[in-house]
């Protein structure tokens, strides 16, 4: 009797885990808002490597980036009830939390950000990072996706790419970017708009061509 119950409990748990791992982000966030820690774990498994990648890109310090990763998901746990799906997808909200935390941490450290990109457009810090607990297949898929995205970004003219990277990854205002690049504010506005429009076009083309 007890063994049957244990087996039944185990089956229910596995079923629940499978259901969570397949659930849409928005469903999981709703579960998190109700205090379901397994739903948070599912979101973590889904996006932790992305969040750590972005945090590391901004802060340039593995230990700090890991702290930001944990803090990001802790905030998701605490604030899931405030997420509003009508304002955009969960990933936008998640990355915004991570990015803002990383930029704040970077500003507190008051050090220069890492180089925007290497000479060939690659990111030397990220390429040097070991992945000790890597799920090889999943990681390969994520890396492939990143390569396609990166390719789309790299297809932009350098001056346009630079503006949106300075704004997004380093939290620089348009005035700061204008000052840093020595360009007129109007030029910065134009470059940012063109960059985002072209990036969108590149991504659509990439998606279309598979």
């Amino acid at each position: 009797m007890s063994q049957t119950k244990n087996a039944s409990d185990a089956l229910m748990r596995i079923k629940s885990e499978n259901t969570l791992s397949d659930a849409p982000d928005e469903t999981l966030v709703m579960q998190v808002a109700r205090g379901n820690s397994a739903a948070l774990e599912a979101l973590y498994d889904r996006y932790a490597s992305r969040v750590l990648g972005v945090s590391l890109k901004i802060i340039g310090d593995q230990t700090l980036a890991e702290d930001i990763l944990q803090e990001t998901f802790w905030r998701v746990w605490q604030s899931a009830a405030t997420f509003q799906s009508q304002l955009g997808p969960f990933t936008g909200w998640l990355f915004r939390i991570a990015r803002n935390l990383a930029i704040d941490a970077y500003r507190r450290r008051n050090v220069r950000p890492q180089a925007f990109t290497g000479a060939n457009g690659s990111d030397p810090i990220l390429e040097a990072m070991p992945d000790p607990d890597m799920d090889v297949a999943e990681q390969a898929q994520l890396s492939l996706q990143s390569q396609r995205m990166r390719k789309a970004l790299d297809s932009l003219p350098g001056v346009q790419r630079q503006v949106i990277e300075m704004a997004y990854f380093y939290g620089m205002t348009r005035q700061e970017i204008a000052q840093a690049t020595g360009e007129a504010l109007g030029t910065i506005h134009t470059r940012a708009r063109l960059a985002l429009q072209k990036l969108r076009g590149e991504l659509e083309r990439e998606e279309f061509e598979g």
Partner: protein, 262 residues
């Protein structure tokens, strides 16, 4: 109308505006659907930026540390929620149940008393007006008690009206109990005091009658008895009261004055 606001939109989707600029943009967007459409277009480009960065698999201990923190918080929330909802220990629950039983019992006593008082007033219509005022006051108390009844009935507590037999047709009573609990309250009226050497005995009846205690009524024929049982009250099918020799009997031997299904 806002010629320069549109220039801010790329930085709005990149989340790189000052708070003041952000407020300006949001005020603009609230009134300009074409602005919202532009933002949507630009957003699809900006939302791809995190994906241009190679993912970095975090060490296992980051997740473990996070989940320990989350689990502790979830447990704290549960404890807080339990306190808020008045959840208590099993012992506390038993006292709570008993308290609810007593509260409901007191309400029933008042109801029965009010009924008795009301019938007395009916029989003695020519009595002084102060008695009517008393009845009115009691009726008001009864109303208050009835209004309060739903609050005390949020639990599983049941109240069973007891039926008299032909032997004592004026007997009137209530049994208030949580079927899952082993205690109950019996409130009775309309039973005449017995001659010396005799007593009322309450029986809980399942497969066989089990004595639930001896009952002594006052000069008005009223009594309240707290019943305790080895089994939960819900495991019995009936409740009865019989007249037994002083000290009670092992099983009903005398007249049955009350018998009701639970």
């Amino acid at each position: 109308m806002y010629p320069r606001i549109e220039e801010l939109l790329p930085f709005y989707v990149l989340d790189a505006l000052t708070e003041e600029e952000k407020e300006l943009v949001e005020a603009y967007l609230a009134e300009h659907p074409e602005g919202r459409a532009q933002v949507q277009d630009l957003q699809s480009g900006a939302s791809a930026l995190p994906y241009t960065i190679a993912p970095v698999e975090p060490p296992r201990q980051v997740k473990e540390s996070l989940m320990r923190r989350v689990t502790a918080d979830a447990q704290a929330r549960e404890r807080s929620s339990a306190r808020a909802s008045g959840e208590r220990s099993p012992r506390g629950l038993r006292f709570d149940n008993l308290f609810r039983v007593l509260s409901l019992g007191a309400a029933t006593v008042a109801i029965l008393w009010a009924f008795a008082l009301h019938s007395q007033v009916t029989r003695l219509q020519d009595q002084i007006s102060s008695l009517n005022e008393q009845v009115a006051a009691q009726s008001q108390s009864l109303d208050e008690l009835i209004r309060n009844l739903p609050q005390t009935e949020q639990s599983d507590i049941i109240s069973v009206s007891l039926k008299s037999t032909e032997t004592q047709p004026r007997a009137l009573g209530q049994l208030i109990a949580d079927p899952n609990d082993q205690s109950a309250m019996l409130v009775i009226s309309g039973l005449p005091p017995l001659e010396p050497g005799k007593t009322y005995q309450v029986w809980l009846i399942g497969n066989a009658p089990v004595s639930a205690g001896l009952l002594t009524v006052d000069e008005n024929g009223q009594s309240v008895l707290i019943i305790t049982s080895e089994e939960s009250i819900g495991s019995f099918t009936s409740v009865g009261i019989s007249i037994e020799p002083e000290g009670g009997s092992g099983e009903p031997t005398g007249e049955i004055v009350v018998l009701s299904d639970l």
